[in-house]
Symmetry: C2
Subunit: 335 residues, 2 copies
C-alpha cells in the first residue's frame, strides 16, 4: 500500500506540486470510521501530542495547586508563536512555581511567524527560552516537577521520572509500545515516540470520550481539551491554523498541529478523533487535510462545513495580490 | 511511472518524512545521461529559469550600454535575500537606466531569510520592490525595455514585447512549445511556463555549451553563467544554497534554485546540465537532490565530491544544538 496524493498545489491551469498523506478517523472504541494511506504506519506525533504530555500537570495536582485556569492549561498544550502574551504567560506559570526561564530546557528561538518576528526584532535583543514555541509545555513540565517534588533539572531526559510517566500515559492512550526503539528527540529536546497513526487518533478519541480511561484521566483529558477550545489563542496564536480551526466552531473542535506535517483533531460531541500526516512533512498539506477531514463530520453546506472547506481549498496570491493558484484537497479525502 | 523517494528525513533511528522527485542530466546534444522519475513531466521552472530570462538584457545591448559587469549580470539572474548590498544593486542598475524602484512591477516583501529579516525589521519601516527577491531580474527587465525603446509600464504582462521575446528564447532553449496553455503567473507577476524537465535541463546544457545556438546567444549565455559563477553572492546571498554551491568549485558549477522545489545546474567544463523537481515542492529536498546529482560528476573522494555529499546528507540540530536526525539522499540518485 502507498499513500495517495491528498493535496495538490496548482498554478495557472496546471498542478505544480503534489502532497501524499495518510490519515485515520477513529471513535472511542478504536473503530476506524475512515482512513487513507498507510494509516498503520508509525509517525512521530511531535507537538501534536502535547495535550497527552500535559496530563501529568493536572493528574499530579500541580494545575490546581497553582490555580491554573483555561489559559494556562491551553498554553501547556501549545506550539505558540512567541507573541508578547505567550511570553508573559510562560513567565507567569513558572513564577507560580517559584521558577523563571532559567529552569527551561527547551532552548531559544525567534518566532517562525513573520509578523511576530518583526515585532520581536524591534523590541528585544535576542529570544529567550520563554519565546520558544514549546515554552508553555515546558513551563507545565517545570510546574509538575516542582509540585511533585521531582528534580527539575534534566526534566527533558528520557530517564527523568516525568518523561517516564508521559511514556506510560502515551502507551495507555495510543495502545502502542513505547521505548528507545521508537524514540527520537524533539525540537525542544524532549523524547518523541513514533506510534501508529491510527493509535494516535485513537488516543485522542479516548481523551475526548473518556472511553477505557480512569475517571481521573478522563476528567483531566476533557479539562485540557476544553481549555484549548476555550482559549485557542494560547494554543497557537494570531492567524495560526490551530487557533483558526478551533474558532470555527467554538467548543466543537479540538485541534493541534505537530512538526513534519502532523495534525490531530477531536470532535468531543461526536466522540471521534482523527490524525493526519503529510508524507513529506509539509505543513500546508497537513492543514488542508485536517480541515477537509474535519469538514466531513459537519453538515454539508452548513456554516462550519463551508468555512472548513474554504480553509482546505485555499487560493494563493502573489506579492501583488494576484491569484496565481490554489492549494486544494483531492478525492482521496472523500472516498 | 512514478517518482521515486529521493530524499529521506530521519529522526532517531526512523524515517520521519520522505520526498519524491524527478531529475535529468543532459548534454548539449540533448542526450540524457541520467534520469529518475517522470523526467518528461512538465514543470514550472519558476526562478530557476532566470538566466534564460536575462538573455535579452545582453542580446539587446542594454548590459553593455549601461556598463554592467559580473555583479550586475549575476544579479539579473538572482533570487536574492534582500541584503543591503542586494537592495543597493537593484537601485544602482535602475539608476543607470534613469529609473528608480517605482518602475518595478514585482511587488514588495520582507526577506524570507531570518537573519536578513531581523536586520530589515531593525533598519526599515517596510520593504519596497527593491527588497523583492526578484528585483535583480526586474531591474534587468526595466533596463532592457528602456534601452530597447519598449514601454516600461506593463513589462510583466504576457503580451508585452519583452515577455514575448523571453517566450521565444525559452522555446529555442528548452525545445518546448510555450503559450497560454502552459503559462502560470509567478510570484513576481511575470509569466512562467511549464516545460518538460528534460527540456529545461537541455536548455541549460545549450547555454553551457553553445550547442545549436547562434554565436551571439552562445556568447551571451556563457557570459551570464560566468557572471553568476564569479559573483555567487549576487545570485542568492549569505548562507544560501545557490551561493554555497557555486563557491564549492568556483567557475565549475552554475546553479539556480526555483520556487516549489526546482533546481537547475550546469557544469560548463563537462558540457552538461541538470534539473530536478521535488514532487511536493519542498526546497530542502530539491537542494539535497541537486547537491548529490552534481557530486556524481566530480571525482569520488575528491574535495568537491566530499563537500557536495556533505551538503546533500545534512545533520539536523534542534534548538539546543542536539543532533536529532538527518536529511539524506537515497539510492534513486545513484542508480
Amino acid at each position: 500500500m502507498q499513500n495517495p496524493v491528498t493535496v495538490e498545489v496548482t498554478r495557472g491551469n496546471l498542478v505544480e506540486s503534489r502532497h501524499r498523506g495518510l490519515g485515520a478517523v477513529v471513535d472511542g472504541d478504536g473503530k476506524v470510521l475512515f482512513s487513507f494511506g498507510e494509516a498503520e504506519a508509525h509517525v512521530f506525533p511531535r507537538s501534536a501530542s502535547k495535550a497527552m504530555q500535559a496530563l501529568p500537570l493536572i493528574e499530579s495536582g500541580a494545575a490546581d495547586a497553582y490555580g491554573f485556569g483555561n489559559k494556562e492549561l491551553a498554553f501547556a498544550c501549545a506550539s505558540h508563536s512567541g507573541e508578547d502574551a505567550h511570553v508573559a504567560m510562560a513567565a507567569s506559570m513558572l513564577g507560580k512555581a517559584g521558577r523563571d526561564d532559567s529552569a527551561l530546557e527547551c532552548g531559544a528561538h525567534w518566532s517562525s511567524e513573520q509578523a511576530v518576528l518583526i515585532h520581536q526584532a524591534r523590541t528585544i535583543e535576542a529570544p529567550t527560552a520563554l519565546h520558544n514555541n514549546c515554552s508553555g509545555k515546558h513551563s507545565g513540565f517545570v510546574c509538575t516537577c516542582v509540585h511533585a517534588g521531582m528534580d527539575v533539572k534534566g526534566y527533558v531526559d528520557y530517564d527523568h521520572p516525568l518523561q517516564a510517566e508521559i511514556r506510560g500515559t502515551m502507551e495507555t492512550l495510543t495502545g502502542a509500545i513505547i521505548g528507545h526503539q521508537n524514540c527520537g528527540t524533539d525540537g525542544c529536546s524532549i523524547p518523541t515516540y513514533a506510534v501508529p497513526l491510527k493509535g494516535l487518533a485513537h488516543g485522542f478519541a479516548k481523551m475526548a470520550t473518556g472511553n477505557t480511561l480512569s475517571a481521573e484521566r478522563a476528567k483531566a483529558s476533557r479539562r485540557l481539551m476544553d481549555a484549548c477550545m476555550a482559549e485557542p489563542f494560547y494554543v497557537a496564536g494570531t492567524n495560526r491554523a490551530c487557533t483558526k480551526l478551533m474558532e470555527v466552531a467554538p467548543g466543537k473542535i479540538f485541534a493541534k498541529t505537530g512538526a513534519e506535517g502532523v495534525f490531530v483533531a477531536a470532535l468531543p460531541d461526536q466522540g471521534i478523533a482523527m490524525a493526519v500526516k503529510c508524507e513529506d512533512g509539509t505543513t500546508r498539506a497537513a492543514e488542508a487535510m485536517i480541515f477537509a477531514l474535519i469538514a466531513r463530520y459537519f453538515e454539508k453546506g452548513g456554516e462550519v462545513h463551508t468555512k472548513l472547506m474554504a480553509m482546505a481549498n485555499k487560493p494563493m496570491k502573489n506579492w501583488n495580490g494576484i491569484h496565481v493558484g490554489d492549494v486544494r484537497v483531492t478525492d482521496a479525502l472523500f472516498a
